[in-house]
Subunit: 204 residues, 2 copies
Amino acid sequence: MGITERKERERAEMRRRIVDVAIKMFVEDGYEKVSIRNIADKIEYSPATIYLYYKDKDELLYDVQHEAFATLSEEFAKHINHKEPFKRLEQLAFAYVQFARDHPELYDLMFIIKAPMNVEHDEEKWKNGDPAYDALYNLVSECIEKKLIRFKDPTVATLSVWAFAHGFISLDLRCRFKVAGLTGEEINKVVDQSIKEYLHIIKV
Amino acid sequence: MGITERKERERAEMRRRIVDVAIKMFVEDGYEKVSIRNIADKIEYSPATIYLYYKDKDELLYDVQHEAFATLSEEFAKHINHKEPFKRLEQLAFAYVQFARDHPELYDLMFIIKAPMNVEHDEEKWKNGDPAYDALYNLVSECIEKKLIRFKDPTVATLSVWAFAHGFISLDLRCRFKVAGLTGEEINKVVDQSIKEYLHIIKV
DNA sequence: TTTGGAAAATAAACAGTGTTCAGTATATTT
DNA sequence: AAATATACTGAACACTGTTTATTTTCCAAA
Protein backbone atom coordinates (compact mmCIF):
# COMPACT_ATOMS: atom_id res chain seq x y z
CA MET A 1 0.00 0.00 0.00
CA GLY A 2 2.70 2.50 -1.03
CA ILE A 3 0.34 4.99 -2.57
CA THR A 4 0.73 7.48 0.24
CA GLU A 5 4.49 7.22 -0.19
CA ARG A 6 4.18 7.67 -3.93
CA LYS A 7 1.96 10.74 -3.47
CA GLU A 8 4.49 12.14 -1.09
CA ARG A 9 7.28 11.41 -3.55
CA GLU A 10 5.39 13.03 -6.37
CA ARG A 11 4.82 16.07 -4.20
CA ALA A 12 8.53 16.28 -3.44
CA GLU A 13 9.34 15.89 -7.12
CA MET A 14 7.01 18.74 -8.01
CA ARG A 15 8.62 20.98 -5.40
CA ARG A 16 12.03 20.09 -6.83
CA ARG A 17 10.84 20.90 -10.34
CA ILE A 18 9.60 24.30 -9.18
CA VAL A 19 12.79 25.13 -7.27
CA ASP A 20 15.02 23.98 -10.11
CA VAL A 21 13.23 26.16 -12.63
CA ALA A 22 13.14 29.05 -10.19
CA ILE A 23 16.87 29.01 -9.46
CA LYS A 24 17.67 28.66 -13.14
CA MET A 25 15.49 31.66 -13.96
CA PHE A 26 17.08 33.62 -11.12
CA VAL A 27 20.57 33.04 -12.42
CA GLU A 28 19.60 33.76 -16.01
CA ASP A 29 17.13 36.64 -15.76
CA GLY A 30 17.75 38.11 -12.32
CA TYR A 31 15.58 38.32 -9.24
CA GLU A 32 13.31 41.12 -10.40
CA LYS A 33 12.19 39.32 -13.54
CA VAL A 34 11.16 36.10 -11.85
CA SER A 35 7.46 36.04 -11.03
CA ILE A 36 5.21 33.20 -9.96
CA ARG A 37 3.54 33.47 -13.35
CA ASN A 38 6.89 33.15 -15.17
CA ILE A 39 7.81 30.08 -13.17
CA ALA A 40 4.37 28.56 -13.74
CA ASP A 41 4.72 29.17 -17.47
CA LYS A 42 8.06 27.44 -17.61
CA ILE A 43 6.93 24.31 -15.75
CA GLU A 44 3.72 24.37 -17.82
CA TYR A 45 1.32 24.62 -14.91
CA SER A 46 -1.14 27.24 -13.80
CA PRO A 47 0.14 29.89 -11.35
CA ALA A 48 -2.36 28.68 -8.79
CA THR A 49 -0.76 25.23 -8.82
CA ILE A 50 2.45 26.63 -7.33
CA TYR A 51 0.42 27.63 -4.30
CA LEU A 52 -0.50 24.00 -3.76
CA TYR A 53 3.18 23.30 -3.15
CA TYR A 54 4.36 26.57 -1.63
CA LYS A 55 2.33 28.68 0.75
CA ASP A 56 3.74 31.87 -0.77
CA LYS A 57 6.63 33.27 -2.78
CA ASP A 58 8.80 33.70 0.30
CA GLU A 59 8.57 30.01 1.09
CA LEU A 60 9.67 29.18 -2.45
CA LEU A 61 12.51 31.69 -2.28
CA TYR A 62 13.59 30.07 0.95
CA ASP A 63 14.07 26.76 -0.83
CA VAL A 64 15.87 28.51 -3.68
CA GLN A 65 18.12 30.11 -1.09
CA HIS A 66 18.82 26.68 0.36
CA GLU A 67 19.94 25.50 -3.06
CA ALA A 68 22.15 28.57 -3.47
CA PHE A 69 23.86 27.82 -0.17
CA ALA A 70 24.53 24.31 -1.37
CA THR A 71 26.46 25.76 -4.33
CA LEU A 72 28.41 28.02 -2.01
CA SER A 73 29.32 25.03 0.13
CA GLU A 74 30.52 23.22 -2.97
CA GLU A 75 32.76 26.17 -3.83
CA PHE A 76 34.12 26.15 -0.30
CA ALA A 77 34.85 22.43 -0.50
CA LYS A 78 36.58 22.95 -3.83
CA HIS A 79 38.85 25.81 -2.81
CA ILE A 80 39.60 25.33 0.88
CA ASN A 81 42.30 22.70 1.15
CA HIS A 82 45.42 24.22 2.64
CA LYS A 83 47.09 22.64 5.64
CA GLU A 84 47.51 25.84 7.65
CA PRO A 85 44.29 27.16 9.19
CA PHE A 86 45.07 30.79 8.42
CA LYS A 87 45.73 29.99 4.79
CA ARG A 88 42.40 28.20 4.74
CA LEU A 89 40.80 31.39 6.10
CA GLU A 90 42.31 33.28 3.19
CA GLN A 91 41.02 30.66 0.79
CA LEU A 92 37.56 30.91 2.31
CA ALA A 93 37.48 34.69 2.05
CA PHE A 94 38.43 34.71 -1.62
CA ALA A 95 36.15 31.80 -2.45
CA TYR A 96 33.32 33.82 -0.88
CA VAL A 97 34.14 36.90 -2.94
CA GLN A 98 34.53 34.84 -6.08
CA PHE A 99 31.16 33.19 -5.51
CA ALA A 100 29.53 36.61 -5.27
CA ARG A 101 31.17 37.68 -8.53
CA ASP A 102 30.18 34.49 -10.31
CA HIS A 103 26.59 34.39 -9.02
CA PRO A 104 25.50 37.93 -8.12
CA GLU A 105 21.81 37.05 -8.29
CA LEU A 106 22.26 34.14 -5.91
CA TYR A 107 24.31 36.30 -3.55
CA ASP A 108 21.43 38.76 -3.60
CA LEU A 109 18.97 36.12 -2.54
CA MET A 110 21.26 34.75 0.14
CA PHE A 111 22.47 37.93 1.81
CA ILE A 112 20.90 41.13 0.52
CA ILE A 113 17.20 40.95 -0.26
CA LYS A 114 14.63 40.92 2.49
CA ALA A 115 12.27 38.37 1.03
CA PRO A 116 13.07 34.85 2.18
CA MET A 117 13.96 35.87 5.73
CA ASN A 118 10.33 36.36 6.69
CA VAL A 119 9.72 32.64 6.53
CA GLU A 120 10.87 31.31 9.87
CA HIS A 121 10.44 34.50 11.84
CA ASP A 122 9.29 32.45 14.80
CA GLU A 123 12.43 33.42 16.74
CA GLU A 124 14.02 30.31 15.27
CA LYS A 125 17.41 30.18 13.67
CA TRP A 126 18.13 30.73 9.99
CA LYS A 127 18.91 27.19 8.93
CA ASN A 128 19.89 27.93 5.33
CA GLY A 129 22.97 29.88 6.30
CA ASP A 130 24.12 27.35 8.86
CA PRO A 131 26.67 25.27 6.92
CA ALA A 132 28.49 28.27 5.49
CA TYR A 133 28.45 30.09 8.82
CA ASP A 134 29.71 27.02 10.65
CA ALA A 135 32.52 26.59 8.15
CA LEU A 136 33.71 30.12 8.85
CA TYR A 137 33.07 29.93 12.59
CA ASN A 138 34.97 26.67 13.03
CA LEU A 139 37.87 27.90 10.96
CA VAL A 140 38.08 31.20 12.81
CA SER A 141 37.83 29.38 16.15
CA GLU A 142 40.73 27.14 15.17
CA CYS A 143 42.75 30.22 14.23
CA ILE A 144 42.01 31.80 17.59
CA GLU A 145 42.89 28.66 19.50
CA LYS A 146 46.21 28.39 17.69
CA LYS A 147 46.74 32.11 18.20
CA LEU A 148 46.97 32.87 14.50
CA ILE A 149 44.66 35.92 14.51
CA ARG A 150 44.28 38.91 16.83
CA PHE A 151 40.85 38.00 18.15
CA LYS A 152 39.61 36.59 21.44
CA ASP A 153 35.91 36.17 20.89
CA PRO A 154 35.19 33.73 18.03
CA THR A 155 31.79 35.32 17.34
CA VAL A 156 33.29 38.79 17.04
CA ALA A 157 35.99 37.38 14.77
CA THR A 158 33.56 35.43 12.60
CA LEU A 159 31.14 38.30 12.15
CA SER A 160 33.99 40.73 11.51
CA VAL A 161 35.48 38.70 8.68
CA TRP A 162 32.04 38.05 7.23
CA ALA A 163 30.89 41.66 7.52
CA PHE A 164 34.10 42.94 5.98
CA ALA A 165 33.74 40.76 2.89
CA HIS A 166 29.99 41.28 2.67
CA GLY A 167 30.37 45.04 2.99
CA PHE A 168 32.57 45.19 -0.08
CA ILE A 169 30.48 42.78 -2.10
CA SER A 170 27.12 44.35 -1.34
CA LEU A 171 28.26 47.94 -1.84
CA ASP A 172 29.77 46.88 -5.15
CA LEU A 173 26.69 44.91 -6.22
CA ARG A 174 24.52 47.95 -5.47
CA CYS A 175 26.83 50.30 -7.39
CA ARG A 176 27.60 52.45 -4.35
CA PHE A 177 31.31 52.50 -5.20
CA LYS A 178 30.37 54.81 -8.05
CA VAL A 179 30.92 57.53 -5.48
CA ALA A 180 34.64 56.74 -5.50
CA GLY A 181 34.77 57.25 -9.25
CA LEU A 182 36.35 53.88 -10.00
CA THR A 183 35.84 51.59 -12.99
CA GLY A 184 34.65 48.02 -12.51
CA GLU A 185 38.13 46.60 -12.88
CA GLU A 186 39.61 49.12 -10.45
CA ILE A 187 36.97 48.25 -7.89
CA ASN A 188 37.79 44.56 -8.13
CA LYS A 189 41.44 45.35 -7.53
CA VAL A 190 40.72 47.58 -4.54
CA VAL A 191 38.42 44.94 -3.06
CA ASP A 192 41.00 42.20 -3.45
CA GLN A 193 43.73 44.39 -2.01
CA SER A 194 41.57 45.51 0.90
CA ILE A 195 40.70 41.97 1.86
CA LYS A 196 44.34 40.95 1.56
CA GLU A 197 45.35 43.85 3.81
CA TYR A 198 42.61 43.04 6.30
CA LEU A 199 43.67 39.43 6.56
CA HIS A 200 47.21 40.68 7.02
CA ILE A 201 46.45 43.02 9.89
CA ILE A 202 44.33 40.50 11.78
CA LYS A 203 47.16 37.98 11.44
CA VAL A 204 49.09 37.74 14.66
CA MET B 1 6.83 89.85 -15.94
CA GLY B 2 7.90 87.20 -13.43
CA ILE B 3 5.30 84.64 -14.39
CA THR B 4 7.88 82.24 -15.81
CA GLU B 5 9.83 82.52 -12.56
CA ARG B 6 6.69 81.97 -10.53
CA LYS B 7 5.80 78.89 -12.59
CA GLU B 8 9.27 77.56 -12.02
CA ARG B 9 9.02 78.28 -8.31
CA GLU B 10 5.64 76.56 -8.10
CA ARG B 11 7.11 73.56 -9.90
CA ALA B 12 9.97 73.41 -7.40
CA GLU B 13 7.50 73.73 -4.54
CA MET B 14 5.48 70.83 -5.87
CA ARG B 15 8.58 68.67 -6.15
CA ARG B 16 9.48 69.57 -2.58
CA ARG B 17 5.98 68.68 -1.40
CA ILE B 18 6.23 65.29 -3.11
CA VAL B 19 9.69 64.54 -1.72
CA ASP B 20 8.75 65.67 1.78
CA VAL B 21 5.70 63.43 1.86
CA ALA B 22 7.64 60.55 0.31
CA ILE B 23 10.47 60.65 2.85
CA LYS B 24 8.00 60.95 5.70
CA MET B 25 6.08 57.91 4.44
CA PHE B 26 9.33 56.01 4.00
CA VAL B 27 10.39 56.61 7.56
CA GLU B 28 6.96 55.80 8.94
CA ASP B 29 5.75 52.90 6.82
CA GLY B 30 8.90 51.50 5.22
CA TYR B 31 10.07 51.34 1.65
CA GLU B 32 7.86 48.49 0.52
CA LYS B 33 4.62 50.16 1.52
CA VAL B 34 5.24 53.44 -0.28
CA SER B 35 3.67 53.48 -3.74
CA ILE B 36 3.13 56.32 -6.15
CA ARG B 37 -0.59 56.01 -5.44
CA ASN B 38 -0.02 56.31 -1.67
CA ILE B 39 2.08 59.43 -2.13
CA ALA B 40 -0.47 60.90 -4.53
CA ASP B 41 -3.24 60.22 -2.00
CA LYS B 42 -1.37 62.00 0.78
CA ILE B 43 -0.63 65.14 -1.23
CA GLU B 44 -4.21 65.01 -2.53
CA TYR B 45 -3.33 64.78 -6.21
CA SER B 46 -3.89 62.16 -8.86
CA PRO B 47 -1.11 59.57 -9.32
CA ALA B 48 -0.58 60.80 -12.86
CA THR B 49 0.28 64.27 -11.56
CA ILE B 50 3.44 62.93 -9.92
CA TYR B 51 4.64 61.96 -13.38
CA LEU B 52 4.43 65.61 -14.42
CA TYR B 53 7.14 66.35 -11.86
CA TYR B 54 9.12 63.12 -11.85
CA LYS B 55 9.87 61.00 -14.89
CA ASP B 56 9.56 57.80 -12.86
CA LYS B 57 9.71 56.40 -9.35
CA ASP B 58 13.49 56.04 -9.45
CA GLU B 59 13.93 59.75 -10.12
CA LEU B 60 11.74 60.52 -7.12
CA LEU B 61 13.63 58.05 -4.94
CA TYR B 62 16.83 59.70 -6.03
CA ASP B 63 15.64 63.01 -4.58
CA VAL B 64 14.48 61.25 -1.42
CA GLN B 65 17.93 59.69 -1.18
CA HIS B 66 19.45 63.15 -1.49
CA GLU B 67 17.37 64.30 1.45
CA ALA B 68 18.42 61.26 3.47
CA PHE B 69 22.09 62.05 2.85
CA ALA B 70 21.48 65.57 4.11
CA THR B 71 20.26 64.09 7.40
CA LEU B 72 23.34 61.90 7.60
CA SER B 73 25.57 64.92 7.03
CA GLU B 74 23.76 66.72 9.85
CA GLU B 75 24.48 63.79 12.15
CA PHE B 76 28.11 63.85 11.12
CA ALA B 77 28.34 67.58 11.81
CA LYS B 78 26.72 67.05 15.19
CA HIS B 79 28.94 64.24 16.41
CA ILE B 80 32.33 64.77 14.80
CA ASN B 81 34.14 67.42 16.79
CA HIS B 82 37.23 65.94 18.42
CA LYS B 83 40.61 67.55 17.94
CA GLU B 84 42.50 64.38 17.10
CA PRO B 85 41.81 63.03 13.60
CA PHE B 86 41.72 59.41 14.70
CA LYS B 87 39.18 60.20 17.40
CA ARG B 88 37.14 61.93 14.75
CA LEU B 89 37.31 58.75 12.67
CA GLU B 90 35.91 56.84 15.63
CA GLN B 91 33.18 59.43 16.03
CA LEU B 92 32.33 59.17 12.35
CA ALA B 93 32.12 55.37 12.46
CA PHE B 94 29.75 55.33 15.41
CA ALA B 95 27.68 58.21 14.07
CA TYR B 96 27.27 56.17 10.88
CA VAL B 97 26.15 53.08 12.79
CA GLN B 98 23.83 55.13 14.96
CA PHE B 99 22.26 56.73 11.91
CA ALA B 100 21.53 53.30 10.48
CA ARG B 101 19.91 52.22 13.74
CA ASP B 102 17.84 55.40 14.01
CA HIS B 103 16.73 55.45 10.38
CA PRO B 104 16.85 51.91 8.98
CA GLU B 105 14.49 52.71 6.12
CA LEU B 106 16.61 55.67 5.04
CA TYR B 107 19.74 53.55 5.26
CA ASP B 108 18.02 51.05 3.02
CA LEU B 109 17.37 53.66 0.39
CA MET B 110 20.86 55.10 0.61
CA PHE B 111 22.95 51.94 0.60
CA ILE B 112 21.02 48.71 0.14
CA ILE B 113 18.19 48.83 -2.36
CA LYS B 114 18.86 48.83 -6.08
CA ALA B 115 16.25 51.36 -7.11
CA PRO B 116 17.60 54.89 -7.17
CA MET B 117 20.99 53.94 -8.59
CA ASN B 118 19.57 53.43 -12.07
CA VAL B 119 19.02 57.16 -12.47
CA GLU B 120 22.37 58.55 -13.56
CA HIS B 121 23.73 55.37 -15.07
CA ASP B 122 25.40 57.46 -17.75
CA GLU B 123 28.83 56.51 -16.39
CA GLU B 124 28.55 59.61 -14.22
CA LYS B 125 29.30 59.74 -10.56
CA TRP B 126 26.81 59.17 -7.79
CA LYS B 127 26.37 62.72 -6.54
CA ASN B 128 24.09 61.95 -3.61
CA GLY B 129 26.74 60.03 -1.73
CA ASP B 130 29.45 62.59 -2.36
CA PRO B 131 29.42 64.70 0.83
CA ALA B 132 29.39 61.70 3.16
CA TYR B 133 32.05 59.90 1.15
CA ASP B 134 34.24 62.99 1.03
CA ALA B 135 33.92 63.45 4.78
CA LEU B 136 35.24 59.94 5.33
CA TYR B 137 37.85 60.14 2.58
CA ASN B 138 39.30 63.43 3.82
CA LEU B 139 39.40 62.24 7.40
CA VAL B 140 41.04 58.95 6.47
CA SER B 141 43.54 60.78 4.27
CA GLU B 142 44.47 63.04 7.15
CA CYS B 143 44.95 59.98 9.37
CA ILE B 144 47.24 58.41 6.76
CA GLU B 145 49.28 61.60 6.31
CA LYS B 146 49.80 61.87 10.05
CA LYS B 147 50.59 58.16 10.19
CA LEU B 148 47.75 57.39 12.59
CA ILE B 149 46.41 54.32 10.76
CA ARG B 150 48.07 51.34 9.07
CA PHE B 151 47.08 52.21 5.53
CA LYS B 152 48.96 53.63 2.58
CA ASP B 153 46.26 54.00 -0.07
CA PRO B 154 43.52 56.40 1.04
CA THR B 155 40.97 54.77 -1.27
CA VAL B 156 41.66 51.32 0.14
CA ALA B 157 41.45 52.73 3.65
CA THR B 158 38.23 54.65 2.99
CA LEU B 159 36.46 51.76 1.34
CA SER B 160 37.67 49.35 4.03
CA VAL B 161 36.27 51.37 6.90
CA TRP B 162 33.04 51.99 5.01
CA ALA B 163 32.63 48.36 3.94
CA PHE B 164 33.34 47.12 7.44
CA ALA B 165 30.62 49.25 8.98
CA HIS B 166 28.21 48.70 6.11
CA GLY B 167 28.74 44.94 6.26
CA PHE B 168 27.60 44.80 9.85
CA ILE B 169 24.70 47.18 9.39
CA SER B 170 23.32 45.56 6.26
CA LEU B 171 23.64 41.98 7.49
CA ASP B 172 21.89 43.05 10.67
CA LEU B 173 19.16 44.99 8.83
CA ARG B 174 18.51 41.93 6.68
CA CYS B 175 18.36 39.59 9.69
CA ARG B 176 21.30 37.48 8.51
CA PHE B 177 22.83 37.44 11.97
CA LYS B 178 20.02 35.12 12.94
CA VAL B 179 22.45 32.41 11.85
CA ALA B 180 24.64 33.27 14.84
CA GLY B 181 21.72 32.71 17.21
CA LEU B 182 22.02 36.10 18.89
CA THR B 183 19.30 38.37 20.26
CA GLY B 184 18.92 41.92 18.98
CA GLU B 185 20.69 43.38 21.98
CA GLU B 186 23.54 40.90 21.74
CA ILE B 187 24.01 41.75 18.07
CA ASN B 188 24.28 45.45 18.86
CA LYS B 189 26.95 44.70 21.43
CA VAL B 190 28.94 42.48 19.08
CA VAL B 191 28.71 45.10 16.32
CA ASP B 192 29.91 47.88 18.63
CA GLN B 193 32.73 45.72 19.95
CA SER B 194 33.77 44.59 16.49
CA ILE B 195 33.97 48.14 15.20
CA LYS B 196 35.91 49.19 18.27
CA GLU B 197 38.35 46.31 17.75
CA TYR B 198 38.68 47.10 14.05
CA LEU B 199 39.48 50.73 14.73
CA HIS B 200 41.99 49.52 17.30
CA ILE B 201 43.86 47.20 14.98
CA ILE B 202 44.06 49.71 12.13
CA LYS B 203 45.47 52.26 14.61
CA VAL B 204 49.21 52.50 14.22
C1' DT C 1 -15.18 90.96 -20.37
C1' DT C 2 -15.16 87.47 -23.38
C1' DT C 3 -12.49 84.30 -25.93
C1' DG C 4 -8.61 81.36 -27.50
C1' DG C 5 -4.82 78.80 -26.44
C1' DA C 6 -1.52 77.02 -23.32
C1' DA C 7 -0.65 74.68 -19.11
C1' DA C 8 -1.98 71.61 -15.32
C1' DA C 9 -4.56 67.89 -13.49
C1' DT C 10 -7.03 63.78 -13.95
C1' DA C 11 -9.90 59.43 -15.11
C1' DA C 12 -9.25 55.47 -17.19
C1' DA C 13 -6.69 52.13 -19.09
C1' DC C 14 -2.51 48.90 -19.87
C1' DA C 15 0.36 45.46 -18.45
C1' DG C 16 2.18 43.52 -14.81
C1' DT C 17 2.41 41.56 -9.72
C1' DG C 18 1.15 38.01 -5.55
C1' DT C 19 -2.66 35.52 -4.09
C1' DT C 20 -7.38 33.33 -3.43
C1' DC C 21 -11.39 30.71 -4.58
C1' DA C 22 -15.03 28.46 -6.99
C1' DG C 23 -15.39 25.07 -10.12
C1' DT C 24 -13.56 21.27 -13.15
C1' DA C 25 -10.93 17.20 -14.18
C1' DT C 26 -8.48 13.29 -12.53
C1' DA C 27 -7.45 9.60 -9.47
C1' DT C 28 -8.57 6.56 -5.67
C1' DT C 29 -11.75 4.11 -2.61
C1' DT C 30 -16.00 2.03 -1.57
C1' DA D 1 -20.10 1.85 -11.34
C1' DA D 2 -20.86 5.44 -7.84
C1' DA D 3 -18.96 8.22 -4.33
C1' DT D 4 -15.26 10.47 -2.56
C1' DA D 5 -10.89 12.53 -2.26
C1' DT D 6 -7.09 14.75 -4.74
C1' DA D 7 -5.02 17.73 -8.32
C1' DC D 8 -5.49 21.36 -11.13
C1' DT D 9 -7.08 25.70 -13.31
C1' DG D 10 -9.76 30.12 -14.95
C1' DA D 11 -11.09 33.97 -13.25
C1' DA D 12 -11.08 37.24 -10.10
C1' DC D 13 -9.21 40.55 -6.30
C1' DA D 14 -6.34 44.04 -4.89
C1' DC D 15 -2.42 45.82 -5.75
C1' DT D 16 1.82 47.94 -8.55
C1' DG D 17 4.29 51.59 -12.06
C1' DT D 18 3.17 54.06 -16.03
C1' DT D 19 0.77 56.21 -20.24
C1' DT D 20 -2.79 58.53 -22.85
C1' DA D 21 -6.86 60.93 -23.97
C1' DT D 22 -9.74 64.11 -21.83
C1' DT D 23 -11.09 67.69 -18.90
C1' DT D 24 -10.25 71.57 -16.00
C1' DT D 25 -7.72 75.68 -14.84
C1' DC D 26 -5.20 79.58 -15.83
C1' DC D 27 -3.77 83.74 -18.29
C1' DA D 28 -3.09 86.95 -22.00
C1' DA D 29 -4.80 89.15 -26.05
C1' DA D 30 -9.07 90.83 -28.65
